[in-house]
């Protein structure tokens, strides 16, 4: 497994109080075709923890995590409700993201708050086949491209590093930088090159 260091440097930019502007991101694959359902995360270099009440849920049902790929804002609390009729033992050994939710029975709903951005590969110690990936973004700006390969976000103007999730490497990979202009909507185009998909 490849360790990915997402926050090698923290860049101090403008204050969060600035008004937001729309940004449209178009992701094309190597052949110039739109890439759908790709997870894209924007990083302005600062941590923007989610409010304390922010929650997310990954259920365990039918010997699987659902959804098996999810993204949350840093600081969010993620619940893992057990909807199987037997016990599970959730863990992640991903660097910087280690946590363990020891044996919890059917109907229990343990949770874990992710206070550091990164990618946690989550498994069940009892059931080797169960696997989920949780991307913890440094801020609230992330999402999946639609069928046209587009993602529309409202962001404060400024410069962002744009990261894409590589399912093969289970890591965020930089796609490039984008500048959100204050007066008009911005439109960024990136190539998926470098974003290796798991087959």
């Amino acid at each position: 497994m490849i360790a990915v260091i997402l926050f090698s440097a923290l860049i101090v930019t403008e204050s969060a109080s600035r008004s937001e502007v729309p940004v449209e991101i178009l992701l094309l694959d190597a052949h110039g075709r739109p890439r759908a359902e790709a997870l894209i995360v924007l990083d302005d270099g600062e941590l923007h923890p989610a409010p304390a009440e922010a929650r997310f849920e990954i259920e365990q049902r039918g010997l699987a995590f659902r959804p098996s790929l999810a993204a949350v804002q840093v600081g969010a609390e993620v619940f893992f409700p057990n909807r199987d009729p037997f016990a599970h033992h959730i863990y992640s050994f991903s660097p910087g993201m280690r946590f363990e939710l020891p044996l919890h029975r059917s109907g229990e709903r343990p949770s874990h708050r992710f206070s550091q951005p990164g990618v946690a590969v989550i498994g069940c110690n009892i059931h080797d086949r169960m696997q989920a990936t949780l991307v913890v973004a440094p801020g609230p700006w992330f999402g999946f491209t639609d069928a046209d390969g587009r993602l529309r976000l409202q962001v404060p103007p400024g410069r962002y590093r744009v990261l894409g999730f590589s399912s093969e490497e289970a890591a965020l990979k930089p796609l490039g930088d984008g500048i959100a202009k204050p007066e008009a909507p911005s439109s960024w185009v990136f190539s998926t090159e470098g974003l290796k998909e798991a087959p």
Binding site: M1, I2, Y91, F93, S94, V121, I122, G123, C124, N125, D128, R129, M130, Q131, A170
Partner: protein, 731 residues
Amino acid sequence: MRPRTLASRFALLSVLLLCFALAASALIVRSRLREAADAHAQAELARGALLITSLLEQRGERLVLAARTLAADYGLREVMALGDAASILEALRNHGARIGADRAWWLPRSGEPIPSPAPFAPKSLDEPSKVLYTLIEGRPHQVILVELRAPARLGYLALAYALDETTAERLSALSGLTVRFTAADGEGTSAAHERLLPLGDGGLHALLTADLESLSSAFRAAERQILLLALIPLIAAAFAAYRLSLRITRPLEELAAAADRIARGEFEPIALPDAPTEVHALAERMASMGRSLAEREARLAELAYSDPATALPSRAGFIARLNARSAGEPLAVLLCEMPPLREIAATFGAAAADRAIAASASRLKSALGREATLARVGEQMLALGFASASEDEALAVAFALLAALREPMPLDPAPVWLEAQIGIALAPAHGRDPETLLRRAEAALTLASAWPERCAIYQPGLEERRLRAISVLGALPSALTDGGLELHYQPQVRLADGRVAGVEALLRWQDPRLGSISPSEFVPLAEKAGLSQALTRHVLSLALAEARRWRAEGVAIELALNLSALDLLDQSLPAQLRTLLAEHAIEPERVTLEITESAAMRDPERSGRVFARLKNLGVKLAIDDFGSGYSSLAQLRQWPVDELKLDASHVRALSAGGPRAEAILAASLELGRRLGLRTVAEGVEDAAALAPLKRLGCDRVQGWLVAPAMPAAAFRHWWRERTGRWPLPAA
């Protein structure tokens, strides 16, 4: 060494043929057995390979399962995820031991293997597990690779299990083959009882060896039995062949022995009871050959030992009979020759001669009056052998026999005189064996013919003289051509003034082997051998060539040459002499030819003609040796000679002194003078002889007193020294 006898050849040939056949069949069987063994081994190997492959696969699967379980261990996964090398090493040791792995490695998804390096480097691992075969520290291992997920794949666990001897033995026990793990490839695979089973693709192999030992020992036993089975007929065949060939060769050997007996003259029947038909036929032919040989031999013996015309023993028979006598006993051999028998045969036929000899034989028998062996040993020769102690006794018998044969022999159509002569040889005085005695009696015959009593006993040396004569005769032709014969010259001095008036040419022959040979010895031989003419020509041309040289050097002398009796009968001599004289430009009157009286008497008429023609040439003629031998005054009267040459015996008698010698000389000289002939005395050796000759009026002298005969060069020197003059003694 190659066998030579027929028997061994037969035996060898049959044994070789059988050997060939047996060897061929043994080879075929052996090769079939080998093929069967190989096929069997191949099948074993194929089965074994399948079994071992599957056993190793099963083991791999079992180990994979164990490794998977291990990889699912939460603690292990946690340690691997943590990435702390020391912890990982310890966990590998601990967890590897848990499932009995000999060695364990952690191959993380990215980064170096732990412990590093790993002795294997699987490329592009994707499947959850894999079984590898590889060498670790030189020893073969089975390596189980299983992925470790947490839950994403963190890496692979590698667990190595040694393929040690225990493993190999277990596989061997299960497969019935000998299993050995090896990294070598290709080696040893050529053997039919081996197979290399590749393990994975790391170059590791399992070498499977079919246990041929038990199998091949069974085959070898079969081979031995086949060989043994082959040997029995082989020996039997050799024995049979030998026996069979003996049945042929033994009679052959007996035949060879019989042939040897025939060669020795033993003609006995050949008995071969159990010989093959062919050999029998051969034996019969040999027997009949032996019989006819015996007959022919008897007949030949008869012919060889007897004379068919007279029924007397032959020469061989005579010798055989005398040989039968005890050695050392005194013996006389008489050889009786009757020369007229040749003429009788020529005139009345050979049968008449045979009758004559038969009649003479019976006369001899009756005259003999004692026991004797009588034989016909030649055409006109009878031989007698009888015991006789002395020469006198033998001579008495010989005379009696000659007397008996002297009477004319009544023969149809006319009586004949046999003119017998007898040669006698006595044993042991003249020889011991009959051959020698016969030969010596024959030698004595030559004497007998010369003597009036017509009988002679062998004299020791007689045969040697004959042998010398033969040698001389043999040497003569080459002496004529290569110059062994040369002329010496003896001066003749005129008593009137001491001038050297002439020379007599004398033949000298010095042979390297026979020594000095005098003309009295070889001239008669040359006459007998028909070489007389050649000899005369040789002498004439030598002498005339020398005379020519004298003329050229101013030596003005006459030349005297000796002619033999035969020369006087040679009608061609005058013409040839004329040619030679002309050739050398010699005046005929300078040449004197000396003739002995006896020579002139042989055929007076014929020699008279030659004489006259020589005379006509203008040469001078002389009577040589006058006063010796048969002297005929009648001839002196008839023959127109120019010179009388007084015999040396009379001149030597002068030296001894005595009135009779001088009287004879005086008369001879007087005779010469009266006839108007020149007189020459030869053999003048001293002054005592010279004085009376001078006094009595002899014209010329010749002899040692003047000079001996000298070679041509010496004579010329002698003549020049004296300028042709010999100083006469004063008295």
